[in-house]
Amino acid sequence: MPGRMSDPSDSLVPFSPDVRDPVVYSLHHDLKAPISRLSISWSKGNCLRVSFFGKKSSNSSAEGSGNSNDQIGGKVVEVKLSSEDGEIDEAQKRRIAYGSVSPFALLQSRKNSMSLLSKMSMGSSTYHVEWWEHVMEYSKDINLLLGSPKPLPSPVIEDPKTVLKAMEKPTCLKAAWELMEIFYADKQSQAWLPESLVDWLADYDNLLSETGTTVYSKLVDLQKELVTLQAVEDNPKYWEGISSALAVGWLEIVVKLLRLHGSYQLDQLGNRETENGLVEAVAVLISKMPRIRTELAVGRLGECYKTKPDFVKAWEKWRGQITKLECSAFWVQCDHRQTREGLKNVLQIMLGNTNSLNTVTSHWIELYISHFLYVRPFTMGLESMYSLAQKCMQLKPTSSTHRLMGLLLGILGENTEVVLAECSRSFGPWMVAHAVELLTAGSKQAEILLHEERYNLGGISIEELHRLVYAQILSSHALTWQIAPIYLTSCTKQGMGLLEILLYKQPIQHNHLLLKSLEICRLYELDSISSNIMKIAGIHHWKHGKKGSGIFWLQQAQDEVRLNRIAQQLFDFVGKSISDESFKQWEGLIELLGSEARTVGGLEFLHKYRDFKKSLQQVQDGHITDAARQAVESLILLMKNPSTPQRFWLPLLHDSRTGPGIEAEKRGSLVKLLNWSEHPLLNISQTNLLLNKLQELSMAKLHPDFIEADLPPHALNSVRLALATNLGRAFLEE
């Protein structure tokens, strides 16, 4: 049998036999009495409803206690099973959910047309080039949703003492998305991964401050003190800040800080000329730092080199200048000890002294980045990046792994499973469902892994599984369920199945929800679920007294079985109560049915039946011959009309034989249309028509589907006899 439960060969996540312990939540029911029983029920999406029933208290005299809580015998609570990280509130989550729909849908439709094109033997190389661009566009769109373009920790003009720009705290979700984008989607950054990480850390170092000291947190502290300090250069924190910021490549901050040095002040310039010259020389060297990358944003310092040889040349020249400055004789003339030592340390960092780097950085990733910048600018390939990361982690061990670091290590370790698991565990279903697009674009291997259909998952791929899980979460909320279909329809195997269940569970008694559901059905051609929904709506309205809308929806559903039953009920009713006051109500309903063009279930004929009944009524009331003629006309019309269901033929004929008042008290005034005393009302051809119908009916009786009318057993024969008599009289008459 295929798919044994734990075949190690298709083991996906390195699975340890000791399954992680279940998460234990506590549910508060606030009931005084002990609980006698629980009951559970799934609500929308992944909401679970739990009913608690209290034990019946032994003392039945609780009535007198007056405590209202005593009257509560139980409680129902709803539990939402999403992991709350609290970083992003619910409204923002929904905004992201809504915003990501159109980039996702666009990418899917592009994917579909791409696969069509590639089937038509397109050159695969052009296909790839274009595909990266699409994925990148998608990634940028999503990225934009996760937060506005963030101000860098870069100098601002307004306040010379503000080195760190105040900014809104970015979210880990955005940081994680950008990490994925750098490594999987942005093919242009592939050659400059270290520099991309430098930029990434500049944006998100403050997120790591939650768990410990970082360069960012040091600078925040320094910033607070800067305002009050007079001679900044005397304070060791000033020099620490400069070194740390330099180590992680925040050159603009470093240069700005350097220029806050007291030797720049006009009154000081005269006697601290050498000192100021050294500070400025270092600042200039820093701003000329060669970077191996295509470009730098406006206002960023450093000089870009796109090719390795150019960079190496510039790098060596730059290092030469630093060495030269280090050996310069001016240092002796610099009287200010802190400046001398601070600047020397800065030069050591620029020269890539690993001890200095280790001292001035806090988190391992900061040390890691400083290595890229000053020690190994040519680090290429994930393997060497990964081993460097491990080295840095050994040098700066952390007690707990930050979720962003877990993700980064998974990426560097080139382990798709771990990346996916980290995404899912730390950032939730939205992240996984959307980041899979980046992962699959990242490598062929990942694509195979994520698209492979697995028996264990019920024949779907991991990609589809995560979309289904995400769609189910969307289904949990009234404001997001409508976008779940977008994700479900991108699931080729099981999406439609889940969509049908989702639609079936919408409360149809609310008209706007009913119409919304039907619209979705129409969009995705879900005819059977659509007719089922209309059927539920029809029955609901019918049983709740809204007969007209009940019939309307049943007609829309083309539910012949139910409409036939309704037709029967109406027929019986019209037959019985023609003189009844309540007939008015029914008459309106029948009117409605007759005017409906697409009638199903033989309701249309009721319209004509009413006319027939009215004429019969008049016959009874004494307008004898004219009314009788009219009744016969109506009868013939009814019998000729193909929309009159066969099962009503006999009751109709039987009616016309006996008249409407079958009840005992009316028996005296029985109108015998068929045996009209003055002269036969039906001519030969009319009588023949009815006889033929009768014959057809006798034949139909042999058919297994025949529905027997609720009439006395001799009805058929008595009608036949009446017709035969009439035929004889008609012959004589003509």
Binding site: S11, F15, Y25, L27, H28, W42, K80, G459, K505, K543
Partner: protein, 325 residues
């Protein structure tokens, strides 16, 4: 994490949500049927809209009739009767819950009832305390009082080997939730009785050609066939090439894969893929989520447990909800 929805009356014994989670029916020890409604879609405010004395004996279980047949519930009462109550119009703008059918109990009691919809009709399976199963069919889709007994059988594979009269404490029925033209109606049924051969869960399928119910699979390993079954739950199948059914017995919760295609003898292949333990004592109820990927269970330990399969198909307890006052 949890949000209170409804405060229940004193003496509430059982509850059941309707198909869309907008109505809650509860049954009381004094035989009262109480209905709570949310008047706005997706509002979490529920108000009591009906309080009806349904029966003299206490209501032990409430089950909603599928919405295609109106707003109605079946109530199983402690004296073994089965009642069908329906909400219908009574005069303009007035809705009322009315008794539409009463199935009297004689010597035997009704233990469980579940409704299954096929394309053409509504079927009702009733399990009795003597181990008998009756399948009723609704004759008129508009009238919930016209039922026809379609079949009566016992929950045994080999009817020849039947012996004696069983005395059953509880029974659990779960219909295959899938409705489609290609599928025959089927349900799974297990008993908690003193006669071992009645207990094991069997899958019954309707044979349209011969108009009879046939056992097509037995969900128990040879050594476990006599195990008393507490609850069964058939998972929704949104496209798996096999069905998944959960069976709770005294040994734990077993998860079974059921093949979709019958062999030459008409049997479906079965495979037990997991045995989950966690609940101490009896399992009261098992519910699958809409995708059939998460199983929620509750039992006499008062804990709600959630079970999921990991990517390798290994089932494990994902979360436990422990109730505290």
């Amino acid at each position: 994490m949890e949000k209170p929805l409804v405060m229940l009356d004193k003496g509430t014994n059982c509850s059941s949500w309707n198909y869309c989670g907008q109505r809650l029916a509860t049954g009381l020890l004094d035989g009262t049927l109480v209905i709570f409604d949310s008047l706005e879609p997706d509002s979490s405010t529920f108000t009591c809209t009906s309080r009806t004395k349904a029966h003299g004996a206490s209501i032990t279980k409430v089950i909603w009739v599928p919405p295609e047949y109106g707003d109605a519930v079946a109530c199983i009462c402690a004296d073994g009767t089965l009642l069908l109550w329906e909400e219908v119009e009574e005069g303009p703008q007035l809705l009322k819950w009315k008794l539409c059918k009463l199935f009297e109990s004689n010597a035997t009691q009704v233990l469980d009832v579940q409704f299954g919809i096929s394309l053409t009709s509504l079927k009702m399976v009733v399990a009795y305390s003597d181990g008998h199963v009756k399948v009723y069919e609704l004759l008129d889709p508009l009238l919930l009082n016209k039922w026809q007994l379609q079949a009566e059988f016992q929950n045994v594979i080999d009817s020849v080997a039947m012996c004696g009269k069983a005395s059953c404490l509880s029974a659990s029925i779960s219909w295959n939730p899938q409705i489609s033209e290609s599928h025959h109606s089927s349900f799974v049924l297990g008993f908690n009785s003193d006669l071992p051969q009645f207990n094991s869960s069997k899958v019954w399928e309707f044979d349209e050609a011969h108009q009879r119910w046939l056992p097509v699979a037995e969900l128990a390993l040879p050594g476990d066939k006599g195990d008393q079954v507490y609850a069964v739950a058939w998972a929704p199948n949104i496209g798996r090439p096999y069905e998944v059914i959960a069976v709770a017995t005294c040994k734990g919760i077993a998860l079974w894969h059921l093949g979709l295609n019958a062999d030459t003898e008409g049997r479906l292949s079965v495979e037990k893929v997991a045995l989950l333990s966690g609940h101490e004592g009896e399992v009261w109820q098992m519910e699958w989520d809409m995708s059939g990927m998460t199983l929620a269970t509750t039992g006499s330990d008062g804990v709600v447990r959630l079970w999921q399969s990991n990517l390798n198909g290994v089932w494990h307890e994902q979360a436990a909800l422990v109730s505290t006052s």
